[in-house]
Amino acid sequence: MTDAVLTAASTQVLAERRRFRMLRQLAAHRSFRIGLVLVTILVLCAIIGPMLTGIDPTAMSIRFRFKPPSARFPFGTDQYGRDILTRVLHGGRLSLSIGFSVALLSGIFGALIGVAAGYFRTLDPYVMRSMDALMAFPAILLAIGIGAALGSQASSIVVALAVAYVPRTARIVRASVLVIREMEYLQAARVSGAGDLHIIVKHVLPNSLAPLIVQLTFVFAYAILAEAALSFLGIGPPPPAPSWGNIIAEGRDYSVEAWWVMLFPGLAVSLAALGMNLLGDGLRDVLDPRLKVET
């Protein structure tokens, strides 16, 4: 049994080195770290922030209209005297949850559609041509159309953006599925009598998730930017409930006199999108080094 003994010793050595390699690589990746910090700060602010300031975001006060940033109002006030800092924090909750929901929805449906197209080859042409048709519309226009049809609430934005981004996620999943279905471990399951459902759940999906997750971080970033744009255009969560987009929209008319009204939510949107992009870059480089861009 010399083979077995020697085998044990060598697997021990291999295992210790590689087990946490991915986590270590992520921790060492500069973009990932920066992105993680940014996103964590923003999420924490969104969750805890509103409770800290204690101010009602919709509380109007004529006395404090158009106050520039000061100790009392760190981000200044808008035309109704509302504290911008509080509004940005509350808006963060809404905007970030919209981003998250869009990513989640487009991820789930993208996965379902991608698997259907990639695994069941007869469905592939029909599914992918429909996706192509959707992709032919610029995402914002599509979102405007759907949003207008569904009415101005946060949920209609989520649905609209999810529909706009599903072709992207479906495409990514389909690409993975096409590679995985040729893998021998899948055929091994078939030889043992596995049905399609078992194979999809146990083999196809777990191995397609990595590129999908990377894509979802980017979708999150796009969604936040898109929500800002849509609110700016008047479609989206209606005032007085703040979202980063509609704060910017309301500050539009006063962009010269009260620049702080647009600046701070704008910064928040940029930082959120940047953070998610950096996070996604890190994940992509670690999970699929072949896509790495040499710096």
Binding site: A8, T11, E184, V191, S192, K202
Partner: protein, 326 residues
């Protein structure tokens, strides 16, 4: 053969439509495998050996022909091979240790997968069986928790073999199981397969391109070229007295450490033609040093030229009845 064969293949054909032309990957293959026996299936790329193996376990559907497994006719209905109850008694060992294991599954889950698919075992019984299988293939029990990337190629191949044995099959198709392994590891895995055969009474269809490896494990060997079996014989006879010119060329081409004084020095010219269909007569004749007129027009059939030794070549006039009876 005393006991009835467990695998009987007759006139197996598999065609693919490739860019308008029809590719006959498997073109009328016939062979038997007895219980506890190893039939080696040897050929180069394009010979159809892997496709044959895959059809036997249902990974590909035959275009025509009959397959009898354990006395039961396997039906090929509308392009799908239905194995039915026979499925549990056959298994497959894959070539590539990289791709044959799901990178996200631990070794113990990969090995137990056939058990999980079939169902009906308690958790304890399942775990016991996994432990038993790990021991059988020479891996320590602690390996069960590890992921494929933590193992070497040879170890992954052992896991693949353990998985194949989970449901106690009687017949295992091994498709180039050692071709991707280093030489020193190849020997370990070949010995493991031999040990398992003795211990469990398995039959193997051992598919490979390496003649030397095939000799070390097979009892009988079949040589394939361009989708057909050109020669089939007991191991010693095939290697010492090959009758078909292709078999001779193949044996001569193997580079040897210990020079074989009996083999010819001729290097066979040419390559397997891309359009096999366009070759009339014997598919090998363009490369055959002994080709004559009949070879250019008539396709030779597999005929018995000695007891248990069949060859498809016009050079050998059949002294026996033209049937497969051996």
């Amino acid at each position: 053969m005393s006991a009835p064969p467990i695998v009987v293949v007759r006139d197996l054909v598999k065609t693919f439509a490739v860019r308008g032309a029809v590719l006959r990957a498997v073109d009328g293959v016939c062979f038997d495998v007895g219980p506890g026996e190893t039939l080696g299936l040897v050929g180069e790329s394009g010979s159809g050996k892997s496709t044959t193996g895959r059809i036997l376990v249902g990974l590909d559907a035959a275009t025509s022909g009959s397959i009898d497994l354990f006395g039961q006719q396997i039906s090929s209905k509308a392009g799908k091979t239905a194995l039915g109850a026979v499925r549990r008694r056959l298994q497959f060992v894959f070539q590539d240790p990289q791709n044959s294991l799901n990178p996200r599954m631990r070794a113990r889950d990969a090995i137990a997968e056939p058990l999980d698919i079939a169902g009906g075992l308690t958790r304890a019984a399942r775990n016991d069986r996994v432990r038993e299988l790990l021991e059988m293939v020479g891996l320590p029990i602690s390996c069960g928790d590890r992921f494929p990337h933590e193992f070497s190629g040879g170890q992954r191949q052992r896991i693949g073999i353990a998985r194949a044995l989970a449901m106690r099959p009687e017949f295992v198709v091994c498709d180039e199981p050692v071709s991707s392994l280093d030489v020193s590891i190849q020997a370990q895995i070949v010995n493991l397969l031999l040990d398992l055969q003795e211990r469990l009474g398995l039959s193997y269809l051992f598919i490979a391109h390496d003649l030397a490896v095939v000799r070390s494990i097979s009892a009988r060997v079949a040589v394939m070229y361009a989708g057909r079996i050109v020669e089939i014989a007991p191991k010693r006879e095939l290697y010492t007295l090959p009758r078909h010119p292709y078999t001779q060329a193949l044996l001569a081409a193997v580079p040897r450490i210990r020079p074989n004084k009996t083999r010819g020095a001729a290097v066979v010219a040419g390559e397997l033609p891309s359009q096999i269909d366009s070759v009339a007569g014997c598919t090998f004749h363009p490369r055959c040093p002994f080709a004559f007129e009949r070879c250019r027009v008539e396709k030779p059939t597999l005929r018995a030229i000695a007891s248990g030794h069949l060859a498809a070549c016009h050079l050998h006039e059949p002294p026996y009845q033209p049937s497969l009876a051996s």
